[in-house]
């Protein structure tokens, strides 16, 4: 940062205070549900349903984090299902997207532009719009009420963004490397496997992370519609069943939610740089 830029960015004291105040309001909006959810998970159930409202928990404890394992007996299974579904979705997406992105990045053939546009147009339709034919399709394939019913449509709608991200990354790999390999007599497939794949690894990592997060965050509608078996339910649907009950054990459900989102929060913490670069790539250009 040049000296001049530093001077432009110098704020007066009252400007600094108003910036911090505005950031505080902004972050309060973003984080309020998590703060409230966490405080609820600390409150004993009897205190939770008492008026008047108290923001801070009295007699707060972490009891709910232990008792929830009895109240939500399948909790471990739900978390496993969530992670399992997201992992398989990520693998499927990568297997399909890596070759496709390479084809779009490197080869010239008639129809390339329209085909890429067609892939991106998929982003326009969410699974919710196509739910009725998808339901019939899953039924005729005989995969209703299996993991596959949640994995197959989940992967399809994550493919377009993944192709776009990886194509952008692969276009930056110098062409000369492949040309040198061809001169040495390497086949196209060998060149892809031995030269492009290792060089594209950082890009593939970003795509894998964003796909996994996307698959983990969006587990609701397919699981709600295409699966009714408890043993295959991902966490959001597993917990959703408890919210419809007469007596909702809010503190334990909030505790369960926090344990369930912990993997995602850990991912944010360690991989935030990849996430931001991955999901805002192509934003500006």
């Amino acid at each position: 940062m040049s000296k001049q830029t530093a001077m432009i960015n110098r704020y007066k004291w009252y400007e600094v205070i108003s910036i911090y105040a505005a950031i505080a309001v902004f972050l309060f909006f973003v984080l309020a549900p998590f703060v409230e959810g966490f405080l609820v998970s600390l409150k004993p159930l009897s205190r939770l349903f008492s008026s008047p409202y108290r923001f801070w928990p009295e007699h707060g404890s972490f009891d709910a984090y232990f008792t929830m394992w009895d109240s939500v007996p399948n909790f471990g299974l739900y978390v496993f299902n969530s992670i399992f579904i997201s992992t398989v979705v990520t693998v499927v997406v990568l297997i399909l997207v890596v070759p496709a992105a390479y084809a779009f990045a490197r080869f010239e053939f008639s129809g390339r532009g329209p085909l890429l546009a067609a892939f991106l147009a998929v982003n326009m339709f969410s699974g919710a719009v196509l739910l009725i034919p998808l339901f019939r399709l899953m039924r005729s394939l005989g995969i209703l009420n299996t993991y596959a019913a949640m994995i197959v449509p989940g992967a399809a709608f994550l493919i377009p963004t993944a192709i776009w991200l990886l194509r952008t990354y692969m276009m930056r790999i110098p062409k000369e490397l492949e040309e040198a390999a061809y001169v040495d007599g390497a086949t196209r497939l060998y060149t892809l496997r031995r030269i492009i794949l290792p060089l594209a690894m950082p890009g593939i990592t970003v795509v894998a992370i964003t796909t996994f997060i996307g698959a983990y965050a969006q587990q609701f509608i397919y699981a709600l519609t295409f699966n009714s078996k408890t043993e295959f339910m991902p966490l959001p649907i597993g917990l959703f069943a408890y919210f419809g009950r007469q007596e909702v054990i809010w503190n334990e459900l909030m505790a369960a939610s926090f344990v369930g989102i912990a993997p995602a929060l850990i991912v944010i913490f360690f991989l935030q740089r990849y996430l931001v670069s991955g999901l805002t790539a192509g934003a500006v250009k």
Partner: protein
């Protein structure tokens, strides 16, 4: 030479084939099937017959017109609020104050954690007796009694919008932040040397250069918001008495809830038509901007 080129094209198509087939099978075929079903009386029964435009005739009545209008109002306010809050957030996070990388990190959770779980937490916050919003409003003496936000049509409508905004804001913020950071620094330096104030620099440099990114982001938000399902389904399931029933909720209730596949498909076709229309205007706007830039 010619042969080499042809084999390269063949190789490229081979690479594309798996992804293209997958999309054709899971997206294109269902899309065609939706249009096909919309002209039938398909239901849970194995067979169905074609009924012409009957499904479309039936949905064009007052109730459905209200659903369309409601969907547009819901979408409009959600996108508008997302863009305003997100762009303001991006400008705040761009300010050169200590701690901003931490603040950027703290912006991300609503977008990263499973959507449904964030919505569960909002469900508790909207609770009239014990939730935070009603509770704080009473503690500060703004309202006398508890407000059950999800129990009344008007408040439920806005409550679902606010939750949708909450989920959308992180992406808008980070996207607009990237756009702000892409504005060349020397423009600011030149303006600063000429004595331009901070507000003037924003109005004359930052804002005009952000317009393409704003259009792109509004478009992405518009499509996502128009398709928004989880939030309304978890919080209100379209109620109370239909006040949060958007087109997508209506389609789900008809097609999946009551097994009227034909009538549901006709509604889905209408949603697709609206989405195509949005895209058409988007590309027009982008084209005009790029020709103006030249």
């Amino acid at each position: 030479m010619m042969n080499a080129k042809r084999s390269a094209v063949f190789f490229a198509w081979m690479l594309l084939l798996p992804a293209a087939l997958y999309i054709a099978f899971i997206v294109i075929y269902p899309l065609i099937d939706t249009v096909n079903l919309s002209f039938t009386n398909a239901s849970l029964r194995k067979t169905y017959s074609y009924v012409g435009w009957a499904n479309y005739d039936k949905i064009f009545n007052e109730t459905f017109a209200a659903v369309i209008v409601r969907t547009f109002i819901w979408t409009f306010f959600s996108v508008l609020l997302k863009m305003i809050i997100g762009t303001c957030g991006a400008m705040l996070l761009n300010a050169a104050v200590p701690g901003r990388s931490l603040f950027r990190l703290l912006t991300m959770p609503p977008w990263i954690v499973p959507m449904a779980i964030g919505i569960f937490m909002w469900g508790w916050m909207y609770n009239g007796q014990f939730g935070m919003i009603s509770g704080l409003l009473q503690n500060f003496g703004i309202t006398d009694g508890p407000i059950a936000f999800l129990a009344y049509g008007n408040t439920a409508f806005w409550a679902t919008i606010i939750t949708d905004v909450w989920i959308g804001v992180p992406l808008v913020t980070l996207y607009m932040l990237a756009a702000i950071q892409a504005v060349p620094q020397d423009l600011y330096e030149a303006a600063w040397t000429d004595g331009a104030g901070r507000f003037y620099r924003f109005r004359r440099i930052t804002f005009p250069l952000l317009i393409p990114a704003m259009i792109t982001m509004s478009m992405i938000s518009l499509i996502a918001t128009f398709n928004s399902f989880d939030i309304i389904w978890i919080l209100t399931q379209g109620g109370p008495s239909g006040s949060t029933t958007t087109m997508i909720i209506d389609t789900y209730k008809t097609g999946i809830g009551s097994y009227k596949y034909g009538a549901g498909a006709a509604r889905a076709v209408l949603i697709c038509l609206f989405l195509s229309l949005f895209c058409f205007f988007y590309f027009k706007a982008i084209n005009r901007l790029s020709t103006e830039a030249v």
